[in-house]
Symmetry: C2
Subunit: 415 residues, 2 copies
Amino acid sequence: MFAEIITIGDEILIGQVVDTNSAYIGKALNSIGVSVYQITSVQDDKEHILKSLKEAEENADIIILTGGLGPTKDDITKHTICEYFDDTLIQNDDILTHVEALFKKYISTPIMEVNRKQAMVPSKAKVLMNQNGTAPGMWIEKENKVFISMPGVPYEMKGLMEYEVLPKLQKKYKFPFILHRTILTYGAGESIIADRVEDWENNLPHFIKLAYLPSLGKVRLRLSAKGDNKKIIKDEVERQVSLLHELIGDIIIGYEEENSIEVTIGKLLEEKRQTIATAESCTGGKIAEQFTANAGASVYFKGSIVSYATEAKIDVLKIPEDVIKKHSVVSIEVAEAMANNVKQLFKTDYAIATTGNAGPTKGDSDVEVGTVCIAIATPNGVVSDVYNMGNHRTKVINKTMNKSFEILLKEILKN
Amino acid sequence: MFAEIITIGDEILIGQVVDTNSAYIGKALNSIGVSVYQITSVQDDKEHILKSLKEAEENADIIILTGGLGPTKDDITKHTICEYFDDTLIQNDDILTHVEALFKKYISTPIMEVNRKQAMVPSKAKVLMNQNGTAPGMWIEKENKVFISMPGVPYEMKGLMEYEVLPKLQKKYKFPFILHRTILTYGAGESIIADRVEDWENNLPHFIKLAYLPSLGKVRLRLSAKGDNKKIIKDEVERQVSLLHELIGDIIIGYEEENSIEVTIGKLLEEKRQTIATAESCTGGKIAEQFTANAGASVYFKGSIVSYATEAKIDVLKIPEDVIKKHSVVSIEVAEAMANNVKQLFKTDYAIATTGNAGPTKGDSDVEVGTVCIAIATPNGVVSDVYNMGNHRTKVINKTMNKSFEILLKEILKN
């Protein structure tokens, strides 16, 4: 059974906004056994939306639309849906009550007519309650197909997917089991890997597909399997992963789980009742922000000092000025002092420290753009190293963050 | 004249990868006057790619494909293009030389047969040299339409767009002028804005479209205009923006050129030779990270203390314990003390402080989830207020960040 995702909005087509909704929806659908046939991004234009609905109905059984449900004139999805299903808008009293309550709670100005219109829905639609906003989701069945419309605001869409769409789809259909397993490799290009696994790849069962996802310095290998028997799928994928280990175990460094690495770190720290703080220069708070984006982080994450300016390293982090003068602000010595001092200040078990030059100019040090020192303070001392993270600012920051998490995780697992 | 973008790859449909290429291509095409009709993401499947090529040829004059050009078995774009154009692959000697040179320079292992195959291209294709990788871009004309195929690796695609595709398109076609102007507003919802600008919106000339882009605490208004006469377009858009200023000047805080609000703040601080630091609890470093994401931030951004744990507020930020006990950790009093103390510690002119409960549970305070106190320390004192930012973690964090920037900007403009 296939789904098609239609995202509505000129902002996507002119490149003002990156469509992150589709990836979220694709992943969520896969998790309950629904494959996505196609993602189509279309203009805020009635004829275009009608055409895409017609094509999607030919391609797929589940058609998911996002966007165009706001209260302003450029939001035309509801009227277009009415036209497609030869329907009219009627008032839904539950939605009206919900909209009025939201206004009362969060908005100081009185409710207006356009806001009340959010409660108008096609008569054929079942309403999906949007806890995070005024625009309701809609569910319309036609023969054995279902059309689902959701607002494009990501957190509103996510709430609807989790609490309404996925449970309702699982109730209505019986889906097969889909399993993706992604193996991370470092140190060999995709053509070399393909050469080493050629026989294995040719002998994969028909229900397992292999994909190569290369990116600077690493290649992810994804096995995707689909079938009705969960146990057979799981066992066979595991067997194939073992065979792969025999062939290229030397370059495999792990798996891509659902959990990001900072969540894994957080869970381990929580189990061990240990804590962490960060001292960040070139990452500028990015590492702290990644930790605190997760609910419950306060159990293990104590805080951070972003010592962006050199004075801040001296005044706030208490790095001796002569250490900075002697070794330069981007040095192993300064990184280690940052890690040790922040660990002491926040009284934690671990600390991450980063100092480097993210570019594009040299800044407070003479080191080459892309040079970064990372130090990890642990209950047993401090480990540190210097890296060249390339020459693009965002890349340097993100690579430094990832490398810090990688080293930290190894250290936590050791202790 | 319309373009259609087709992105090829199962990784997009299963949500493993967010398609950022299409936004980049959409923006680049708009900059030379080409509108994108549709973005279509399809599977690594020959029949599906053929179908999407046929549909795109009906919709558009310029068809841009990305993905599926690697050396491994799941990369089928080249063969599919051959089938679509009834063509065969032939060896291109320039590409072969290029691939061999790349191997010699960057890769320690010897070149293999699959790598040499990168030099095989459809005989009808003009080759677009990819300076950043082994897979060449391809340009195939059919009647007055053009099909362009590029690798999906973002920096390879970007190089090809900039140095090959855009110049070639501008040479081949005469495009109209497209202008997008995005006005940033803070502090009013989209329905309130729509109400205030209703007459103006109804009287916009036909060649200017208005879009509302709401997100947590701010609404962006985008005017999009298209026409042959650049001067008329520019003048009329500026005239409409002036009219808009008369109507809602009180909530307009600037424009989105490439600039976000933190960049505007950074520029102002740099001009005035003033500096800022942040003390962040519920935002967890997010505000610091936004500042430091911009090159040159070190001129005005000194650093941050992320005092996530209550102990950190006492030990590191030196908030008196009795103030916290008396007023609770989420209080105006604590926020103001955080702002004042971090301003003093980092010796800055301004400081932002946030303390609140981002949820989902109550944490170290008794306040309701979503309650946030923001304080802004300025050269003339400190301003602060308490807000209800809703009940979703990411939303609370982002709304708090946006509200902080909004108040800070107003304060900087006052001083």
